[in-house]
Structures are given as structure tokens and as C-alpha cells.
Subunit: 260 residues, 2 copies
Amino acid sequence: MNQHKEGEPDDRKPSRKIADELRHAIETGELAPGSKLQSERELAEKHGTARNTARAAIQLLAEEGLVTPEHGRGVFVRKQQPLIRLGNDRYSHKYRGTGLSPFLLECAKQGKTGRFEVLSIERIQPPADVAERLGVSDKTKSVLRRENVFWADDDPVQRVTTYIPWTLARGTGLLQEDIPHQYGIHGVFEDKGHVMHRIREEISARMPRAEEARHLRTPPGVPVIDVLHTSLDQTGNAYELTRFVMRADMTGLLYDVPVE
Amino acid sequence: MNQHKEGEPDDRKPSRKIADELRHAIETGELAPGSKLQSERELAEKHGTARNTARAAIQLLAEEGLVTPEHGRGVFVRKQQPLIRLGNDRYSHKYRGTGLSPFLLECAKQGKTGRFEVLSIERIQPPADVAERLGVSDKTKSVLRRENVFWADDDPVQRVTTYIPWTLARGTGLLQEDIPHQYGIHGVFEDKGHVMHRIREEISARMPRAEEARHLRTPPGVPVIDVLHTSLDQTGNAYELTRFVMRADMTGLLYDVPVE
DNA sequence: ACTATGAACTGGCTTGAGCCAGTTGGACTG
DNA sequence: CAGTCCAACTGGCTCAAGCCAGTTCATAGT
């Protein structure tokens, strides 16, 4: 149980020592996922340290994402749930016109109820990175922005922001809230001569901004995956851009693509 | 500068108040990337709090990835560097046999010197997820594992672990340390009748495990991107598997793929 | 011109005390 | 029996003090 070799002086800081011991117990399954740790006060007494020190140890584990403290209840070993995997096939032709949403299908596959919520639909001035990728030169309120949040049961899972050049979006009904995200809108683009031919997705990960953490209710120690998606038509023209900000503890990505 | 509305009582915790003020200064550019914050002791005195409280504020920002404390030097606003973007075209035929490595090319593009280091090459018993995806049923030391670390200048950037069924790897020279990662090895597979036809990549993000944080020297508040790559031949057979663990503050992914 | 020393700064970590705010479950009340 | 209330638990946060360990740089000694 104790990590240090006999004979050698153990010069680890007390907080690290407690953290190492707990981590070891978690990794060996001695502390099962979902189970409750000893309370801060108990840990402190057991190791002969101040409560602050036990607390620091727990924070170390929380930062690694191993553990989630819950105010008034205790500290729990995080159980990693199966990820909702969004694949590049979510834009596949096979879904077009079926009314099926890959996100909702994935939720169903895991016995969860998926839904989405429209935060806002506005005609705005695009941020620089969006304007650049959409090739929008005139910046004055030239894009339609639609902001959705997707839920699985009672957890917000991803925030989806779609940008569409206003010239494409005008008079299409895209302002209506009952169009289920981008899965229902691609017909509109085809009517205007833009058939989705390729997609380009720039992926990065980071800790959530304060506002994103509020929206997505991410526990501490959970990063987000940030996907900047661009839809290209046959001529390589970008006609639609979507930014996904996804909770990394609930979602993942899957690409199954040909080698070119 | 102060975030709270006049007249209303400001019931934010002192640590959050300090953090909010600093965050605001960072977001407005008042505190430029790379610049040094006031010391913990100064911040504490300025806000009339204990040093612990100023310290807690800084830790909040560090968890968000806005700031990096450096022992003995100070706390600095993190400057986000351009990401080294690895695309799905890194497996493209255009690189085959050229000796060019997309990773090293990306480094060069940013004026950095890329190199790689071989941690280990061993014949081992595969972990369950690897065995499953490779379709290896006999688990006894049936795969070759090769572990590399890629560097850009003096920063470790990604840890790359390649698994190859031993039946494929035997007698191929893959045990040699001077083969530059997987970029040089695909010819071997073609000799054995496995031409790379599709790739399948499962992507997730998380905080680094303690050991990964040591290897990659990730500052606190920096997650890793975890990519499980599988190479498939014409018959859909998985003949090679590679796991990338990448520092999210230095690397990103790019997929430019056809819609099928 | 070089090197060694050390003071004065930085963050890292701990102590032990206290109060606040959610949560839980049992006892008491209608 | 259903509800209310409260004690005892949980983590959240703060204080004021102290010591340790890196870093930096001016100064003193070669």
C-alpha cells in the first residue's frame, strides 16, 4: 500500500504521499469507481496531517480527473462512462433526408435520452477566424449564427455553434428554432447549389473557459474538445462552419477515412 | 476593472474576486501573453487577503490554462503557441518512400527543430483494447511494441506507441532503433501484402496520467489528446495500431476527408 | 575577466484554527 | 403516515504564520 522503498528516506511531500496512496488504491480497483473516499478530516487524521494537506492531496487527484468532490456529500472516484462517439460519417449521405440525428442515435445506443436546446439565432458580425474560413470579406452582420446545446439525459454534452453566410441563409427558414441543428439544414444548401463534398475539421483540446464550464457543467479536471468544422462543396468552397465544444468526459470522435 | 455591479453586495469569495480581476486583465490584453503577474504576496496585500487566498486565485487560473506558475520566477500569462497540426494526410501516399516525416515538416514550418527518441522496443503481451482491435487472439507476447517520444526544440510533444502483430514484425528490422517511427515502416507491410487502405482513429481528451505528465512535462491545466489509430488494408484487416498521446497546448489534429 | 557567495526575491507546501454551506437521516410533530 | 426540523456529517474557503526550495543578480574574492 505504501509506495516508498524500504530503507530510503521518503522525501515526498505529505500531500503527494496521500495522493499517491489514493491513486494507487484507485488504479488497483481497491477503491471502485463511484465509491466514496474517506472524508478530508479522516484522511488528515489517519496520516497525521492538517486537513488542508489532505485537501490538497484530493485536489491533485481532482486535477488528474480521477476523483470528483461533491459539496456536502463526499469525494467520489469518477467512473468513466462510455463516450458518445461522433464520427465523420455523421455527415454521410445515408443520413440525409432521413430525419435521423447521429447524436441522438448514439445517445439511444447507450440508453440515454438525447435532446437539444436552441440558445440563440442571430445575424451577427463574424469573428475573425470564422470570417477567414468562410471567405466572408464584408464583415457587417454578414453571417447567421445559431447556438445549440445538446443534452444526454440531464447532462449538457456539447455546445454547437453554426455560422452560415447571410447570403445563403436569408429566406430559408433557418431562423426557425424547430430545425434540429445542422442535420436538417443541408437540403437548403443543396437547393442553392452547394452539395457537401468534403469536410475539414480542426481539432484541439483545452480546459473550458469559465463560461463554457458553466454551460457544460464540467467537473474540475475535465477538458473540452474543440472542433472547428467546415463544409466544402464540389468546388472547394466553404459554405458553412460549425464549432463544437464537447465535454471530453462524455464524448469522443471517430474518423474512418480512406488513405488518399 | 472591478467586475461587480454598483449597489449590489459583492458576495463572491475573495479568491474568485481576485481570479476574475486577473482573468479580465488577461482577456483584455492588459496583461499580455508572456508577462509576469504580481507576486502572490503583492496580490494578497493589494486585496487585503492572506497569501493563501491569492494563491488559490492563481490556481483557479492555472486550472483554466490561462497562467503558468514557475517556481522561483513568478506566474506568467500563458502564450498560446501555434499548434503543430497533424492531418490525416500524414499517412498519404505522397509521403511514402520519400523519407519525409509530416511531424518534422510541421516543426520546420514553425522554425522548430523536431526530433524523436526511442524509449523502448519490446515484444509483449498486448493490452486488451489493443488485442481486440488488432484481432490478436493469442495473447502470449504476440505483439511488438515500440514507444517513441517526439520533441520540438526542447519540448516533448507527443508519445507514440506502436503495436504490430509479432507474426508481421518478425525478421523485418523493425526492432532497429534507427527506423524513424512509423513513417519508415509501411513498406514492410506492403511487402507482406498489407497496403494501407483506410485509417480509423478514435479520439478523446483527458488530463494526463501522472506518468504521462512527467514524460511530456505538461504544465498544470494542459490536457492531452489521446488518439487510437488503426491502419486497415484492402480487406478491412487491422494490421497495425498506434496510440498517440499529445500535449494539447502544442498539437492539434486536422482531418480533410471526403463525405461518403 | 572569471567565479563563488549570498541576500532578496519568487512560488511550494504545511500547520491548526475557524466559519460557511450543502446533504443526510433520524426524531419529533401534526 | 407525511411532513418538518435539526444535529451531525460532508466539502469550500479563509486566515496568519512559518519554513523550504528554486531563481536572480549584485558583490566580493580570486
